[in-house]
């Protein structure tokens, strides 16, 4: 998982990239915006913003139905994104790429279709102690409905998965392993390929939550051999309301549909309804066409920089950030204290200050971070904290942004009397 790209290979024109994002020119209370909340949602480059406008100016129409020019063009543009994603995640079949409203819906889709059909009383679902609620609540509720059992892979104090007892956690009773590819709180990158091998050896499937990984590094679902992979467009320069569920064709084929309605059927009578072919079986109703079409431009933008490049650049900036934060007395990084197998979601706590006070103070300096439990209350408990402050990086951040964060944190301690 560690990038092989060496430092000298990193080719990122950070000034050009910063200029591509109009919002980064905004002033927040006399300060230039420093956006360090990309783990929540990323900003959009001008190309993506223009593509969205262009869609409505030129081809807006419903897809897969009309026989007119606009409908055909809209359908083609929509399907072009699907083809693009299939290539982006490692060269899968287009029928294996399902559009959803986001990672959350992708995971719920699996829980309510595959889960309902395949999980029975006493079956075991394996999660980890670092899951986002999106990859936790659907499984806990499924387990409740089915009298199934939730097991958890624990984490070490520095925020890595503790695989010492993995053979007693993933067993022949396991039906599914649902694990995040990268923790939204700790930044930890998990060994999905290794876990997939263990899951499959035991006859279980594996779902990886890629919401935080797909935007930041090359993803190859075939190499990892995951059965399901979920991610969101808005965390990778695309619009909100668009997500992807990748699933292996033979598994998707056997899954019942999720939403019922138009587009997902083949033939309908009051006696008998047959389902449409993949992937349309899972795409009932009119989807977020403008969003999906625009997502194509976001993917192209990322590919033009190169996912290897992005990963290498962010790894370096993550190391710089960790180094800077650790220079501040009383500040603790919640998660790995180094940049090995780790992404740029960097959570920290201050021994004296609540994360909400940190966030409010930083906002007064124009710095946007996230504070709270990050939809990971069980993880907060495990880390022995109630909430964290989180700076999360992306391609438009640089060392100057981190220096601004550092300076503001020093000023904050003075302000609250904790020098």
């Amino acid at each position: 998982m560690n990038s092989k790209t060496t430092e000298k290979d990193i080719v990122i024109d950070i000034q050009k990239i910063k200029n591509d994002f109009p919002i980064l020119k905004r002033q927040i209370r006399d300060n230039k915006l420093v956006y360090l909340d990309s783990g929540a949602s990323t900003q959009k480059p001008i190309e993506v913003i223009n593509a969205h406008t262009e869609y409505f100016n030129q081809i807006n129409s419903n897809i897969h139905r009309g026989l007119h020019t606009l409908a055909e063009e809209a359908t083609n543009a929509y399907e072009k994104t699907r083809t693009h994603i299939a290539k982006f995640i490692g060269g899968v079949k287009t029928c294996e790429v399902i559009f959803t409203s986001g990672t959350t819906e992708s995971i719920n889709m699996v829980a309510y279709t595959w889960g309902e059909a395949n999980i029975s009383e006493g079956d075991e679902i394996v999660l980890t102690d670092m899951e986002h609620h999106a990859n936790l609540v659907p499984w806990v509720m499924l387990a409740k409905r089915k009298n199934a059992i939730i097991k958890r892979i624990p984490i070490t104090d520095d925020g890595r998965l503790d695989l010492d007892d993995i053979d007693s956690i993933i067993t022949e009773k396991t039906k599914l392993v649902a694990v995040t590819h990268m923790s939204n709180v700790l930044g930890t990158l998990n060994p999905i390929k290794q876990l997939a091998e263990i899951a499959h050896k035991n006859g279980a499937l594996i779902l990886a939550d890629g919401a935080q990984s797909a935007p930041h590094m090359p993803v190859d679902v075939l190499d990892m051999d995951v059965d399901f992979f979920a991610f969101s467009a808005h965390k990778m320069l695309g619009p909100t309301g668009v997500g992807v569920l990748y699933g292996k064709e033979n598994i998707l084929e056997k899954m019942p549909p999720f939403n019922m309605g138009g587009e997902m059927i083949s033939e309908v009578s009051f006696d008998r309804i047959t389902w449409a072919e993949l992937p349309h079986k899972f795409e009932a109703g009119t989807p977020n066409i403008a969003g999906v079409v625009t997502f194509d431009t976001a993917l192209t933008y990322l590919e033009n920089i190169g996912m290897e490049n992005i990963h290498a650049y962010e790894t370096k900036l993550t190391a710089y950030t960790i180094d800077k934060l650790l220079q501040i007395d009383g500040l603790k990084i919640q998660g790995p204290n180094n940049s090995i197998n780790r992404g740029g979601a960097i959570s920290f706590t201050d021994k004296n200050l609540h994360p909400h006070d940190i966030s409010t103070f930083l906002d007064s300096k124009g710095i946007a971070i996230r504070a709270g439990h990050h939809c990971a209350q069980t993880l907060m408990k495990r880390m022995g904290t109630i909430a964290t402050a989180r700076a999360s990086l992306y391609i438009y951040n640089d060392e100057a942004d981190i220096d601004a964060l550092y300076d503001a944190l020093i000023a904050m301690r003075k302000y609250f009397g904790h020098e």
Binding site: D30, H354, H356, D357, T360, S364, Q377, M380, I386, A387
Partner: protein
């Protein structure tokens, strides 16, 4: 420093945050009330000693949370000591209204509590300032319900 920030973190608020009043747990109490805001993780424990004339003889507030929730709890502890339950309920409702930006009919001098007004500019933080007050209301309600030691957990979310 921006004006807004100093509006919320006024001197008085920072003073209460840095040295919260009512820190000492009560040895003799007849109300215990717990408040919790899950999304912030703020936790507040309140103990009251209500005397036989239904006045608050003593109060203890222990808040693990942000500067606003700690300061609000501290101001509460300072303000309600010696007041009757009726007075306390009335002022709590007024503070709630003040924080929510509704018209309040406060005529008396509420002292430090007035500084909580600045929190209104930060809508997501209003629930932090409210925590101590809803915990108090809950505690008083429980006390009046059964007249003995009571425990409850409440939230402003």
């Amino acid at each position: 420093m921006s004006e807004n920030l100093d509006d919320m973190y006024r001197e008085i608020i920072l003073d209460h945050y840095k040295a919260p009043r009512g820190k000492k747990p009560l040895e003799d109490k007849n109300v215990t009330s717990d408040g919790h805001n899950p999304s912030c993780g703020d936790e507040l424990r309140m103990e009251l000693k209500v005397d036989n004339k239904n006045n608050i003889a003593d109060v203890h507030v222990n808040c693990k949370g942000c500067a606003i929730s700690v300061a609000s709890g501290s101001m509460l502890a300072e303000f309600i000591k010696g007041k009757s339950l009726e007075e306390v309920k009335a002022i709590s409702e007024q503070i709630k209204k003040m924080l929510k930006g509704e018209e309040s009919t406060i005529t008396e001098d509420i002292g430090d509590l007035d500084s909580l007004k600045g929190v209104r500019q930060f809508p997501v933080r209003i629930k932090c300032a409210l925590l101590a007050w809803v915990t108090l209301i809950e505690g008083v309600d429980k006390f009046e319900g059964n007249g003995t030691d009571s425990s409850s957990t409440t939230s402003t979310e």
